[in-house]
Amino acid sequence: MAKIIVVTSGKGGVGKTTTSASIGTGLAVKGHKTAIIDFDVGLRNLDLIMGCERRVVYDFVNVINGDATLKQALIKDKRTENLFILPASQTRDKDALTLEGVEKVLNDLAEDFEFIICDSPAGIEAGALMAMYFADEAIVVTNPEVSSVRDSDRILGILQSKSRRAEVGNEPVIEHLLLTRYNPERVIAGEMLSVTDVEDILAIPLLGVVPESEAVLKASNQGQPVILDDKTRAGQAYADAVSRLLGNDVQHRFLEVEKKSFFKRVIGGR
């Protein structure tokens, strides 16, 4: 049985696609056959972050409309075994997705994959609803600031009322909080909400805290999921999150201000 995980947030620009790319890659690296689907029809980004933009021939909408088979549209990742990407259509809009079409694609994928990561578009409209509707689990990506937290709260409410699990009365969607762009120094300065604040407001279990890092932007621009760079703190944080997602108990890191050693200060640490 494939597990369908939606990566969602409500608010835009908080790191959904970055997270989808890294979590999907992390699961595949650990030997789980994983597909990442870009639900952001019209604003396709996942292919860029995964570095496969030149290899997009057919897309999600083509498969839904029957213009291409799933096999033709799935792009096999060149770096990571077991990893496939289903890109969104750039020329269509969100209305091109239908619940029946999405369900069919997910069912077909489920026969052959262990994890299906649905990279949700921002907002709470049709596209986002499609991405979350069939989910078993949800990773809610949140930045430590009030508007992002409120939007995440909103999306959690929608998950628990409008997903298929909610509608048919099955076990509720399992929720995970992933706090991204976290900067402990700014938390101390009172410019950012702390992990505790966000956990208190959203009241869902914490999957991970990804520190604010230049490495994320760099990795995105290079088309390489940041999790593959295990020397970066962000990469390590994502690896921890993947491990927790698979049920392991991993201590949270990067919550406190890093104490730079004298040596590091002289050399100039990250």
């Binding site: 409120r150 709260d153 909103r154 959690l156 409410g157 929608i158 628990q160 208190d200 407001i201 009241a203």
Partner: protein, 247 residues
């Protein structure tokens, strides 16, 4: 022994009695609509008996069919006529029951007294809309919510209390005709007694609300006493003014 198809039983039925004083289409409709609006729970789909004992003038002037039709349009279920010898002919044509004249004294509907009349006679509805606004005609179980109420969600407990076992997020709204209990942080809006119950209260574990309201008397977060912020409190009305006190 054959299986009995039915069994006849005697039963006492509580209904609303409409004591007609005089009847003109327009005025009757206006007043009845007003009454129903005041106590929709009590009167919507309510069975009703017309009593013409107090009718001023000649009851023969009333068109029973028009009266029945009007009541049905407003959602009542007319059962029959009482105390109306002069009208019997016309009433039979309206297919409703003709009931014997009441032997006891019916309780005036709007006074909310708790007296009942003697055995066998019809009893009027005891509860009225003016009886502290608390309508206890039937016990409605409290609505219990175990999940957090998230931003953008609205939960309304009609005719009952609302119990939230979790938190109420900023941007969420919880409403009840009765009391509201929140066993978690109350960060959104809470409105108790929305149908006008002045005795309704709001209880919460941690007061961080955007708005508290009891029977339409509200307080915004900026009006809440600072020393009670994030404290367990209750909010209720005292002489029409909303106040918050620690639990």
């Amino acid at each position: 022994m054959t299986d009995l198809c039915f069994r006849l039983k005697g039963s006492v039925l509580t209904t609303v009695v409409l004591e007609l004083h005089h009847f003109t289409d327009v005025e009757f409709r206006r007043q009845l609509e007003q009454k129903i609006e005041q106590a929709p729970q009590l009167l919507q789909q309510s069975p009703i008996v017309f009593d013409l004992d107090k009718y001023v003038g000649d009851p023969a002037d009333i068109d029973p069919a028009a009266l029945v039709q009007l009541c049905r349009e407003l959602g009542l279920q007319p059962l029959g006529f009482r105390s109306c010898p002069a009208l019997n002919g016309a009433i039979r044509n309206s297919d409703l029951a003709v009931l014997p004249t009441s032997s006891g004294r019916g309780t005036p509907f709007a006074e909310g007294s708790s007296s009942t009349n003697s055995a066998g006679a019809s009893r009027t509805a005891r509860e009225s809309e003016e009886d502290s606004g608390k309508q206890q005609t039937a016990r409605v179980p409290s609505k219990i919510v175990t999940q957090p109420v998230r931003s953008g969600q609205q939960i309304y407990a009609r005719d009952s209390d609302l119990i939230i076992m979790s938190q109420v997020s900023e941007g969420a709204e919880v409403l009840a005709d009765g009391n509201i209990h929140v066993y978690g942080g109350l960060r959104g809006k809470a409105l108790a007694g929305v149908q006008g119950d002045m005795t309704a209260r709001i209880f919460c574990h941690s007061l961080e609300a955007e708005l508290l309201s009891v029977a339409g008397n509200f307080m915004l977060s900026e009006d809440l006493p600072e020393h009670l912020w994030k404290k367990p409190v209750q909010a209720c009305l005292d002489d029409g003014t909303l106040y918050v006190e620690p639990l």
